[in-house]
Structure formats: structure tokens, C-alpha cells
């Protein structure tokens, strides 16, 4: 039985297979409307994340399956002290596949060790969120037609942003991908990404705090939130946050075909005016998230068109 706990669980070929299936779903939606008929997805959200949960649920409905679950720890048995292991063994009696979100890092892996049905990690604290990375890869593929030979700029909180770390790791498997890391000094990528990915694989990359200069080089710009709570004091936050906001002025520095991505939700790091720019792809990214989750559910359940 397969689970998806971390993006590293998937080979480059498997990721390609998922992207191909997702693309086929987008082209031939009717052909997939009953492939999961009679199957049930349980969404076990030990912490609320409405967007991710709705994406999984919509994905399962569109495959003709049905959905059950809970969406906060209060509503579940964990408030009565039930362990993660017991919860998934119980839910496995009712559901064919589980999407789990949990505030503790490693909870989905722990669940997978005793689960009788496939587990999908729908986010475990600040640790891992593989379906977001798959969403990002599908979107880049659809917008660019390739995952190799490009310059990817990542901007904002590169220290704590788990989507950034997974995307760098995932993109590092493709040929000739260059990274530009745009962040304030305080929020640079952690050492393990630097040493274990960027340096170990001998990738081309540089760090900068100047967004305008980097924009002209980027084929993809991946924006993230700069959160107030990451700073020790308000003054530092206010001084820095505007440098990492994408607005129509900064968009003038971008290439005519730069793809702008953001894992959403955003606060103010992308000006609403940028939404009208055809280069802004973050809402397409949301929709792609549903399609790649459809492809993933099919793969883990072993169903085909």
C-alpha cells in the first residue's frame, strides 16, 4: 500500500505520471466523473485548514466518490485523548483513503505505520505539505510546458516557509534549474536546504534582498508571506515587509512571460491590482490543486480511467 507523506516519496517518473493524469483530467473531465464511485475519502483535519480540506473534498466528489471527516481537533476524539494511531485505525474501517492534517510534525507518517488504508499528508505543522508541492509543479508545467531549463525566484519568508523548501527540493531534480532566493537577512533559507540541496547538488543559485533586480531574470516567481510573528520587533517588520511586496510597479521589471505563483492565502504581499495581470497564476494554481489531488487519489487507490 502506498501513502504520500513527503514529496520525496515520489520519483520523478511518478510525479510526471501524476501531472500527465491531471492534465488529462482537465481535458476530459467527464471521463473521470465515476472512477471512484463507491469509494470514500476521510478528511481528518486535526487543525482547521478550510482551503486544503475543500480542495480534497472537491477532488473526491469530482471523481464520483464521497467524503466524510472532521475539521478541527475539538470535533474529533482527540479532545478525549485518542491517539493518532487509534484514530486512523478506526477511520480505516469506514474510509478507503485518508487525507490528514495535523499540527504535530510527523503525525501522518506515524498514522501510515499502522493504517489499513492509504494516508495523504495534507500538512503536518511546519514540516511537510506534499500536495501543495505537486500543485506548484503542475502549475509550472502547465504555464511553462516544462520543469527544466528555467530560473525560479522565491521571495519572502524562505526560512520558515515549508512550501519553499519542498519546491526547491523537488525542482532540484530537473536539469538546469537556477534559483534566486529573495528575502531579508532574517528569513534566508535554512542551512539544511543550502547544504543538502543547493550545494550538494551543485546547483546554480544566489541570494539577494533586491526583488527588482531578480525579477528580470525569473521565469517563475514564487511569492510567500512575510509574517509579523517571525520578527522580534515591529520596527524590523515594518522596515522590511514592503521590500517584499509585489505590486504593479515591480511587475514592470518582470519578463513578459514570468509566471507569478503564491500558495495562498495571501495577506498583502501581492497587491490586488496584480491579479488582473495575465502573468498572475495563483488562482489557476488553486484550481490545479484540485486536479492534482484527483490524480493522486486515483494513484493511491489504484484506479484508472
Amino acid at each position: 500500500m502506498r501513502h504520500l507523506i513527503d514529496i520525496k516519496d515520489l520519483s520523478v517518473e511518478e510525479i510526471k505520471g501524476l501531472i500527465d493524469t491531471a492534465n488529462d483530467i482537465i481535458e476530459n473531465r467527464a471521463a473521470y466523473s465515476e472512477v471512484c464511485k463507491g469509494k470514500k475519502l476521510a478528511t481528518l483535519f486535526f487543525e482547521p485548514s478550510t482551503r486544503t480540506r475543500l480542495s480534497f473534498e472537491a477532488a473526491m466528489w469530482e471523481l464520483g466518490g464521497s467524503v466524510l471527516g472532521f475539521s478541527s481537533a475539538d470535533a474529533s476524539s482527540t479532545s478525549k485523548g485518542e491517539s493518532v494511531t487509534d484514530t486512523v485505525r478506526t477511520v480505516g474501517c469506514y474510509a478507503d483513503i485518508i487525507a490528514m492534517r495535523h499540527p504535530k510534525e510527523g503525525a501522518p507518517l506515524l498514522a501510515s505505520l499502522s493504517s489499513t488504508v492509504p494516508i495523504i499528508n495534507a500538512g503536518d505543522g511546519g514540516h511537510s505539505h506534499p500536495t501543495q508541492t505537486l500543485t506548484d509543479l503542475l502549475t509550472i508545467m502547465r504555464e511553462k510546458g516544462r520543469l527544466d531549463n528555467m530560473t525560479v525566484a522565491l521571495c519572502g519568508d524562505l526560512k520558515f516557509g515549508r512550501t519553499v523548501h519542498s519546491l526547491i527540493s523537488a525542482m532540484s531534480f530537473y536539469d538546469n534549474v537556477k534559483f534566486i532566493l529573495i528575502s531579508p537577512e532574517e528569513l534566508k533559507v535554512p542551512n539544511y536546504i543550502r547544504q543538502d540541496v543547493l550545494e550538494k547538488k551543485n546547483l546554480e543559485w544566489y541570494e539577494t534582498d533586491n526583488m527588482e533586480n531578480a525579477l528580470g531574470e525569473a521565469d517563475v516567481l514564487y511569492m510567500t508571506r512575510v509574517q509579523r510573528e517571525r520578527f522580534f520587533n515591529e520596527a524590523d517588520y515594518l522596515r522590511l515587509k514592503d521590500s517584499f511586496i509585489l505590486d504593479t510597479e515591480k511587475m514592470k521589471y518582470a519578463k513578459p512571460d514570468t509566471t507569478i505563483l503564491h500558495p495562498l492565502p495571501r495577506v498583502n504581499e501581492i497587491s490586488v491590482k496584480v491579479d488582473e495581470d495575465p502573468r498572475a497564476c495563483y488562482f489557476k494554481q488553486v484550481e490545479n490543486g484540485k486536479f492534482i489531488r484527483m490524480a493522486l487519489i486515483m494513484m493511491l487507490l489504484g484506479v484508472t480511467k
Partner: protein
């Protein structure tokens, strides 16, 4: 190799200087009834300084734990005053319930009776990571 005072037992040699107490504790040597000697800061041609532990009884040592703590240790098994076997250690691929994950956000902090498992992720740097949260063992 000086095995004076031991006729049958185990000599842990080439322990990194200063680490012998840690090893004594991890192996629960305090629970033994036999004679246990800790010799610290012995001059060594290989290491400069080293520690040695001598255990005056046959016992099953957890070589995985020992390899995790210090892969350079040599384990000498002595019987009837003779060295009968010399074992060299290496870093184990995985250690179970030897160390605990210190990441407060890790699922091991809340789940009951969960095994704390660490896996070797970098042989050359000797880095172990929690299989759940991937935090580095400190």
C-alpha cells in the same frame, strides 16, 4: 592492549576521551553487580587521549547503541585471560528508543507509547534524523 584485572569480560577501548560516563549510563552499567572500571584520559597513539571501560563479566552489549554513541570504539571480548574477539563498530542505520526527539512540535511529544526512531541520513557527517519530523539528533 592492557586487559589486566580481567579474566573474562569486555573491554571497551578507544572511547573518545571524556565520553566514558555517557556510555556507562547508556549501557546501564550501574546496574551490574560485577566489577566495572572506567579509565579516563589514557594516552593513545591513535587518539591522543582516550577512555577505556572494563567490565569484569560476560555480557550482551547493544552494539547498535554503542556504535551510535561512538563508532570508533573497539569492543574486546576476553575469556580466560585471552583476547578472543575484537569487534569494530559502525554507525547503525537506525536507532530505536535510544534518544528522544527534542523538537517540541514533533508528534512523539503527544502520542502515547510511540517508538522514538532515528535514522542515519548522512554517513559522512554522522547525522541522524527523527523519522517523524526529520529534526537532527543533537
Amino acid at each position: 592492549m592492557n586487559v589486566d584485572g580481567i579474566t573474562t569480560g569486555v573491554v571497551l577501548d578507544h572511547i573518545q576521551a571524556g565520553k566514558s560516563m555517557e556510555i556507562y549510563n547508556y549501557l546501564h552499567l550501574d546496574e551490574l553487580d560485577c566489577c566495572v572500571a572506567i579509565i579516563k584520559n589514557v594516552k593513545s597513539t591513535k587518539l591522543g587521549r582516550k577512555d577505556i571501560i572494563k567490565i569484569d563479566a560476560e555480557m550482551d552489549l547493544d552494539l547498535e547503541v554503542l556504535g551510535y554513541l561512538d563508532p570508533n570504539i573497539t569492543v574486546n571480548l576476553v575469556k580466560d585471560g585471552k583476547l578472543i574477539e575484537k569487534k569494530h563498530l559502525k554507525l547503525p542505520r537506525e536507532v530505536k528508543n535510544v534518544i528522544k526527539c527534542k523538537n517540541p512540535r514533533c508528534v512523539t511529544t503527544v502520542e502515547r507509547e510511540v517508538d522514538h526512531i532515528f535514522r542515519l541520513t548522512s554517513e559522512e557527517k554522522g547525522i541522524y534524523r527523527c523519522i517523524y519530523c526529520e529534526s537532527e539528533a543533537k
